[in-house]
């Protein structure tokens, strides 16, 4: 009942949006190569349904593994930098740098180190995903209630106990907001990483279709990128709601 109430407006809006799109494409006679209509996209999806699945699987694998390792790396870095402020001062600039190295410069080096396999691709997604988690979680730590800090300190809690029992739970809401960002970026990250030489994947589908002027297929690829990404987001929101259930009002 409640579920339906939540989903119904989204469904309606999406349908309205798609109809509007269809109408605009038809009314203004926009050519398919510029902007295909939802119907075109749907039809083309059906056409290439077999191939989409394996492309999707390939991209999914890269993004999920990249996100996972980004998560582990992000939480690890945030923890270390928070607990050892000296390291934070030193390494924060390098973490910023990591977000500003274009793929074009990174690609040859990554290929040098990891070859053309799935390794450099997951690395790229990881490099994209760990950053929002680090920034958000670090900021989350500072949200800790000082009154609670005072109590735990007075009670003789060790640094690590305070971290595990107080600071980390306090940072959870921020952590999740970082994780949601990462999840959103992970799929695009995987698509971009497929430029590093790949046979399959939505990124490959995207480039091939675009370079051979099949805009409808480009949008098929985008549709699945979006779906994958929204799935990630929803799953993480569920986990968040489950873990932060005490926040819900009764």
């Amino acid at each position: 009942m409640n579920k339906m109430k939540t989903w119904f407006p989204v469904l309606i809006t999406s349908i309205v949006f798609l109809l509007l799109w269809e109408a605009i494409v038809i009314l203004f006679a926009i050519e398919t190569w510029l902007l295909p209509s939802p119907y075109d996209i749907l039809r083309e999806t059906w056409e290439i349904r077999d191939r989409i699945f394996e492309n999707l699987r390939s991209t999914f694998t890269i993004s999920i593994f990249g996100l996972m390792s980004g998560l582990v790396l992000g939480v690890g870095i945030a923890t270390v930098l928070y607990l050892i402020p000296f390291l934070q001062r030193i390494f924060y600039p390098f973490i910023l740098i990591s977000q500003n190295i274009p793929l074009i410069a990174l690609a040859p080096l990554l290929v040098m180190w990891f070859g053309f396999g799935v390794g450099p691709k997951i690395t790229i997604v990881m490099l994209i995903c760990f950053f929002p988690i680090v920034v958000s979680t670090l900021d989350g730590f500072t949200q800790t209630d000082p009154t609670l800090q005072t109590y735990l300190k007075m009670a003789g809690a060790s640094r690590w106990q305070r971290f595990i029992k107080l600071e980390w739970p306090s940072a959870l809401p921020s952590f999740f907001s970082g994780l949601k960002l990462s999840a959103t970026y992970s799929v695009m990250g995987a698509v971009i990483s497929e430029w590093l030489g790949s046979q399959k994947g939505l990124g490959v589908l995207l480039t091939l279709s675009s370079k051979s002027f099949r805009t409808d297929r480009v949008f098929v690829a985008i549709t699945f990128i979006v779906i994958l990404s929204i799935c990630f987001f929803i799953i993480i929101s569920w986990i968040e709601r489950f873990i932060l259930h005490w926040k819900q009002n009764p």
């Binding site: 191939r51 030489g197 370079k211 002027f213 099949r214």
Partner: protein, 314 residues
């Protein structure tokens, strides 16, 4: 544990070889796909995987030995070699430059002189302006009267819809797409106006070390590739089908029509597919230097070789 010799034992003789493309797969690469999928490589004892490079081109990967072969173009090889990137061109896929400046028929751009007062959509390379200047100077026109607007990665068809008058395309792909769309183009080929601009694009490259140390492998590879292109020259339709089969996400219609246009142009007037002439390498490098788009020393002789073509390119 002892390893029982199995039937796969003899496959250890098969050499793993990586080939990096220059762009997304297209009809320039048909011969490579034919060689792979018709088993020509297998017959030479090679197992070739074809890799798409995305944004980071093939040259550095080949130079660094991460890939054994790659697809590049003459300008790229020239630039790379002046920067000591040790790559060598081992075959020209197309004998002549099929690129040129395209515009919609109704713009009436029929000769370089008509460029005056028009808007050129470029991708931002300094070579472009020099290119246009070269063509225009043949007709005493002034390149200063051309407005150059960078369009980056925006495709030709979008660009000409939006106040761009002409742009630089490869006819074999974008030009054919225009035909498919029923869009009439005026095409000004570089080769028609400046001989020195008839450079090789694309070419197959390998690195210096490979050439010196794995001569047999390179020869075997090129033998298979030659057969592949030979097949593509002789049977355009079948070759196109192989490419479509291999890369089903390509636009099949476009591939077929493009293949038809391109097949006779692979070898063109040459004695054999793939041969390269020193004067073409020298001329273009000289042109580049003259127009200030090439820094550093360039030795044409070491930039290419015909030695791996069947019968040494004779």
């Amino acid at each position: 544990p002892t390893n029982e010799p199995t039937g796969e034992q003899e496959q250890t003789n098969i050499k793993e070889v990586k080939l990096v493309l220059d762009w997304t797969p297209n009809t320039n690469h048909t011969g490579l796909y034919v060689a792979r999928d018709k088993g020509y490589f297998k017959e030479e004892g090679l197992n070739v995987s074809i890799i798409q490079p995305g944004e980071a081109g093939a040259e550095q990967m080949v130079a660094a030995g991460q890939a054994d072969f790659g697809v590049s173009y003459q300008e790229g090889v020239t630039q790379a070699r002046t920067q000591n990137v040790p790559i060598v061109s081992i075959a020209a896929i197309l004998q002549h430059n099929t690129s040129g400046f395209a515009s919609l028929k109704e713009k009436n751009i029929e000769t370089p002189k008509n460029f005056e007062g028009k808007v050129y959509g470029g991708f931002g390379s300094p070579v472009e302006e020099q290119m246009i200047a070269s063509l225009m100077s043949e007709e005493q026109a002034d390149v200063k009267k051309v407005q150059i607007t960078p369009i980056g990665n925006v495709d030709f068809f979008t660009a000409i819809k939006k106040n761009i008058d002409f742009s630089w395309i490869y006819y074999g792909w974008t030009g054919i797409e225009a035909e498919l769309r029923g869009q009439d183009l005026n095409m000004i080929y570089l080769t028609d106006y400046a001989k020195e601009l008839d450079y090789y694009t694309p070419v197959i490259i390998s690195n210096e070390k490979n050439i010196k140390e794995n001569t047999e492998t390179v020869a075997a590879f090129m033998k298979a590739v030659s057969r592949g292109y030979q097949f593509a020259i002789e049977q355009p339709q079948a070759a196109a089908d192989i490419l479509i089969q291999a890369e089903p996400d390509l636009n099949g219609e476009l591939v077929k029509k493009s293949q038809e246009w391109l097949s006779p142009r692979y070898q063109a007037d040459a004695t054999q597919w793939g041969t390269q002439k020193e004067e073409i390498w020298t001329n273009y490098a000289d042109w580049m230097r003259k127009h200030g788009v090439l820094e550093g020393k360039f030795d044409a002789k070491s930039a290419f070789t015909n030695q791996f073509l069947p019968e040494g390119g004779k």
